[in-house]
């Protein structure tokens, strides 16, 4: 006791600053001790949970395999399968177990085909997991809804069409995107009908995702894209142009020609690309005739495409643009000329009127 009193007296004799530093050090030391204990407790619980998760996963995987091989030819669901369903059903109300069951089911569904994939889907229905996904659609949080739609898409739940389709005009982009993916994944080209009324922009990434989904299907019978080419939503028009090019929609020629005078430059450039890809020489002649009415970007886009479509009859047209006001067009004209008439191209070396030509000539000659 005397010793303590001695320390306290000694401490109180210290200047204020030293006392403050000591006090802070003690507080920090105690905080570190407490945080270390807290960390230990958290680690212990996480490890315990992880072990529980692993054990349950192992147990569940064995049950799933047993379920998949317990198929009987005459019965839709055998008694053995029924008892496995009941066993799994008891775990479903626990959130982390439910999440694990869904992830295992989904991972396996991606790896196996045919009857086995159908059995997995049946299990998803029978265990009541589908009800949890449908309940998520009624949640007030947008991210829960998006996750729910994503799950219904992954398990190909066509029956949820009406419930999911309601979200196509949802204010959150993520929910709209999940809805679009759900519709296209499950209903293919028919699922694209949401484009008819789409007012919000369809991002480039969303367009690519939709195209990727569509290309996976064996049946490539595309629906009528004309209404989308006439859409007031520019991103829908751009998407329809991509569809026209990928699926060789020759019947939309008239609309494509009309779109050459669209107010959006990006669309006009895209139309030139589609026209040249679909109609080749025919489109080339048409664009050559209207060349002077096109903007610089459109002219450049046309020249880029001309590189692949050029033939000797284009020589005069190319020559006319060797001294175009745009540098890139000049360069492309030189390159194209080199491919169709090398003698004329070589004779250009003698030209000195335009200072840029010799350098550009060298570049085109080496490329």
């Amino acid at each position: 006791m005397i010793d303590y009193q001695y320390f306290i007296d000694h401490f109180e004799e210290f200047p204020f600053l030293v006392q403050l530093v000591w006090r802070i050090s003690v507080v920090l030391f105690l905080t570190i001790i407490l945080l270390t204990i807290y960390l230990k407790v958290i680690r212990y619980h996480l490890r315990k949970k992880e072990n529980e998760y692993k054990t349950f996963k192992k147990e569940y995987e064995a049950l799933l395999v047993e379920y998949l091989y317990a198929d009987k030819e005459n019965e839709q669901i055998s008694n053995e399968q029924q008892s496995i369903i009941l066993k799994i059903k008891t775990h479903i109300p626990i959130k982390y177990k439910r999440k694990m069951v869904i992830s295992v089911l989904y991972n396996l569904m991606n790896e196996v085909s045919g009857e086995m994939a159908d059995s997995i889907k049946t299990l998803y229905y029978q265990t009541g997991l589908i009800d949890y996904a449908l309940t998520r659609l009624k949640n007030k949080n947008w991210f829960v809804i998006a996750k729910g739609i994503g799950e219904l898409r992954r398990f190909k739940v066509e029956e949820a069409h009406d419930e999911v389709a309601k979200f196509i005009k949802h204010p959150k982009n993520e929910v709209r995107k999940e809805t679009q993916l759900y519709l296209v994944n499950l209903f293919r080209f028919e699922g694209l009908s949401f484009l008819n009324e789409l007012k919000t922009p369809l991002s480039e990434w969303a367009q690519l995702q939709l195209l990727e989904v569509l290309q996976k299907f064996d049946d490539q019978q595309i629906c009528d894209i004309k209404p989308w080419l006439k859409s007031k939503n520019d991103t829908v028009v751009l998407f329809a142009l991509k569809l026209a090019q990928i699926y060789n929609q020759f019947e939309v020629k008239d609309i494509l020609i009309e779109l050459l005078s669209h107010k959006e430059k990006e669309i006009r450039i895209c139309v030139i690309e589609v026209l040249t890809n679909l109609y080749g020489i025919e489109a080339k002649e048409m664009l050559k005739t209207n060349f002077n009415q096109l903007s610089i970007e459109e002219q450049l886009s046309f020249f880029k495409l001309l590189e692949n479509l050029v033939d000797p009859s284009d020589e005069t047209f190319i020559e006319q643009h060797l001294f175009h006001k745009n540098f890139e067009i000049q360069l492309l004209a030189l390159k194209i000329l080199k491919t169709i008439n090398i003698d004329k191209f070589l004779s250009l070396n003698k030209l000195r009127s335009n200072k840029e030509v010799p350098e550009m000539y060298k570049f085109a000659n080496n490329s």
Partner: protein, 122 residues
């Protein structure tokens, strides 16, 4: 008594591994499971299997490296079946050029795999 044919199965999806193990063991094969390419190489070196089934994308050592190890370093002629997912066509070509005998694109039917295994082990 005839000894069972040994198969090394290298697949990082534990559920699929278990499913295939169950199916192939039912057909009378002895399955040696590997969760990554490194384990697969160790098993091939220590167990001298009659056939190798490997996924292309695996942690640590890929399926391609497993094939290369079997054909070039160990100089074994055992049949190799490769699993591939959509978009891995280039990898499949590489696998064949390294010496794979067959491939199956995911998703696949386990019954079809059994047929291919039987054919290769003739």
């Amino acid at each position: 008594m005839m000894s069972k044919n040994k198969i090394v199965l290298a697949e990082d999806n534990s559920t699929l591994s278990l499913l295939l193990k169950f199916r192939l063991e039912k057909e009378g094969y002895e399955l040696l499971m590997a969760v990554d390419g490194k384990e697969a190489v160790d098993l091939i070196e220590s167990q001298s299997p009659d056939l190798v089934i490997t996924d292309i994308m695996m942690p640590f050592i890929s399926g391609l490296e497993v094939i290369s190890h079997v054909r070039n370093k160990l100089a074994l002629e055992i049949p190799i079946i490769v699993f591939s997912s959509a978009g891995q066509e280039e990898m499949v070509l590489k696998a064949f050029s390294l010496g794979a005998n067959d491939f199956m694109g995911k998703p696949f039917s386990p019954n079809e795999l059994v047929i291919r295994v039987k054919r290769l082990l003739g």
